[in-house]
Symmetry: C3
Subunit: 314 residues, 3 copies
């Protein structure tokens, strides 16, 4: 069982909880491969998807997960720009409380927004990304994909490359992977690696070829140009020259080393098409796993007991 009503970050999850979610996701992956990929488990639940930031992929992935569990789904999308954020979140709290939704999935531009909400409502909250803090379901789907490829995460070497500073995906990867016993190296231009990274239990390496030399997996972050300020970003061309993952780089890694990307990709900025479409990427598996991981989390947070999962899926 998960210890809390919410999934807000991987920093506060235990290794046992992460393992439970990954194992449960495997069971839902099996459901997704059935002729009828839908189960009536949450037939009487209403889930509200609150997306204060645009996110096609993540929103569709959650909505698919919810509908395959037979939940009723209410979507709300807003660019938070026009409203003062404090007010909006307080409003949200009031409404969630009062309308009696059963679970809330929230993406928000402010770090800590999911916890703010979770602290104020009795229902479960799933963080679908909050500012530069965490994106735990992305971290979990990355870990599920890695575990499938490598059998275990224990002792494996994972390199996360890109703009670590602005990346909630990076933070969720570091917290989750280190808890599961993997050794994480973050790699990117010095101004884009925050000083606290080493204290999170990972190595920092500025030289990409060195970083990947003995890697088992490389997680290539999306360069989000809209988040870059003039001062600390070297420019696409300069970035690509030093940190783009291409065929030449992969040739210097272990033959079993594979490549993840959370999508959507900036081809030829952080990754070349040669790699993105090549035999060593697992990007599509990540997308499939994303639905399964979200089904698992929603199932577990909705009171689904791990021990009755088998029965529930029959």
């Amino acid at each position: 069982m998960l210890r809390t009503k919410d999934l807000l970050d991987l920093e506060s999850c235990t290794a046992a909880e992460i393992k439970l979610i990954l194992d449960t996701a495997e069971a839902f992956l099996a459901v997704m491969r059935r002729r009828i990929p839908k189960v009536p488990i949450l037939r009487d639940k209403t889930i509200v998807n609150l997306f204060y930031e645009n996110s096609t992929r993540t929103r569709i992935s959650f909505e698919l997960a919810e509908k395959r569990l037979s939940a009723d789904v209410i979507n709300f999308s807003a660019s938070g720009s026009s409203v003062s954020k404090g007010e909006t979140l307080k409003d949200t709290v009031d409404n969630i409380l009062a309308m009696r939704a059963d679970l809330v999935v929230m993406r928000h531009g402010s770090s800590g927004a999911a916890r703010y909400l979770a602290d104020r409502v009795p229902v479960g909250v799933v963080n679908a990304g909050d500012g530069m803090h965490e994106h735990p379901t992305q971290g979990l789907l990355d870990m599920l994909t890695m575990r499938q490829k490598m059998g275990t995460l224990q002792g494996k070497r994972v390199v996360v490359v890109g703009d670590i500073l602005h990346s909630r995906v990076a933070r969720s990867n570091v917290w989750g992977l280190t808890k599961m016993g993997a050794q994480v190296t973050v790699c990117g231009p010095p101004p884009l690696i925050p000083v606290e990274m080493e204290s999170m239990g990972c190595k920092v390496e500025y030289d990409l070829p060195k970083a990947v030399a003995d890697a088992d997996a490389i997680n290539v972050l999306r360069i989000q140009l809209e988040r870059q300020t003039v001062q600390n970003f070297p420019g696409n061309r300069e970035y690509a020259r030093r940190y783009r993952v291409d065929g030449a780089l992969l040739a210097k890694t272990k033959p079993s080393c594979f490549v993840l990307h959370p999508g959507p990709m900036n081809r030829d900025v952080e990754i070349t098409s040669e790699v993105a479409d090549g035999p060593r990427q697992v990007i599509l598996e990540q997308v499939t796993n994303g639905v399964a991981v979200r089904m698992a989390i929603i199932y577990l947070l909705s009171g689904g007991a791990p021990e009755s999962l088998g029965e529930n899926l029959n």
Copy 2:
């Protein structure tokens, strides 16, 4: 039974109809408190939500109500700005007629838009707010909340404070409450109180402390800054000085006097946080009641007989 296929305004409702809707809403409130807050009554109906104005709260409240009745829901949102309104509504009429939806919920920026539609389609239309005309479901949820607190509306004194001129919520409150025997006083800056208010059966008072002295309930309207023109609005600061509902004001009212707000609130403009979060507000109850009132209206307009309600909810 309601006499018409539509709910367009409270001006044309009878006291008996309003009572029927409030009583039916109480039954649905009981449903919402069940472990499974959903009934299969409208399993075969399709409801179209046409929102020509943005409205997160109202749209989600309707959608929740519809889904808890098991209806199929089609959402359509548009800012009416880009299209000439006449054309859009005529198009809408054509489409609703032809696609065979069972019920239409419409919010529109033009007063009278809901009636325009209702006059031209054979299916029921629920007005979710039309221009500066009425917002009948908000009026009904306000009245349900007041009735719960006071036992009855008959003979009670209700003050509606704010920008009465631009407020469809104020109009629906005045029509509905006076029909149910309450005594309504509207209060606000003189330029924001239209001359016809007295002919609607309510008192006008420009001095807020005087208005609330013997009030049983105060309904605080949202100041919609976007609707204010330079000429007639005194400015937020000046407005707040004279018409903001704060703790000092409440201290001068009867101890049983309570505060409503349709949300979302401009804290420290028309209401202070002391009041908004204090023991005398019923704002969350309003939100809960909103879902129940909308379930009741949709049930009744979809041919649900009041006398078979009990049976339908079992």
Copy 3:
């Protein structure tokens, strides 16, 4: 049976396929007239509506069709402006593949986008309009409406009038109608009729009164002002003077000649209200038929066998 997993255009459909779709649509029209206009055929399928261009009518029509077949529906709307189109479509491909949707309905601003997607995913793709290429479901609903009015399409004379150059509706009409044995004349200002039209098997006529003299049906295209460039569009007023369909024009046609319009109409630009609301238009029938045609296509592409249709609808 349809020969392919997709419906991308009418150019590549056979007459037998078009007839099958129209006949199947008639069966679903009968379903839509039932007290419960819904069938549980696709209860276990998930359909994704990807709308890269705004389209209220077409999106609602598809969504209604999908829900009346009891499918789960995921909507995604985006204006393609902010993202480079190639990337977006490649992302879409990846996601559709990986999330295991059962059918994709796509509208896109680029000609050929639907085929691009269809070539890369194993699931069925329905083209809901791609650039200036085709809008096959609109063509089919036009044809269904004509067949209902005339009994057959064989040997009938249909005039399509308007901006042929930019119209995917015109292209789908020409391909579909000529395959079914109708004789199509396209009519409009010379700069708005592309040279390849004659090679598509239809006549070209620049003089509207001449074009409609012996017509059985007139399909009036919407003038999409946003697609007009200064060079080749004569201006609304000049256009209306020569190509607007009005009462005077209709008076010179056969008494049985009727008028279609795909909507939404620019009244007094390409059509007068006299005609648009008059006894010889079938515009509402088109909207109703649109839902039925889309139910038919989705049924057939989801593996619904024509021969078990009767059984499935009971």
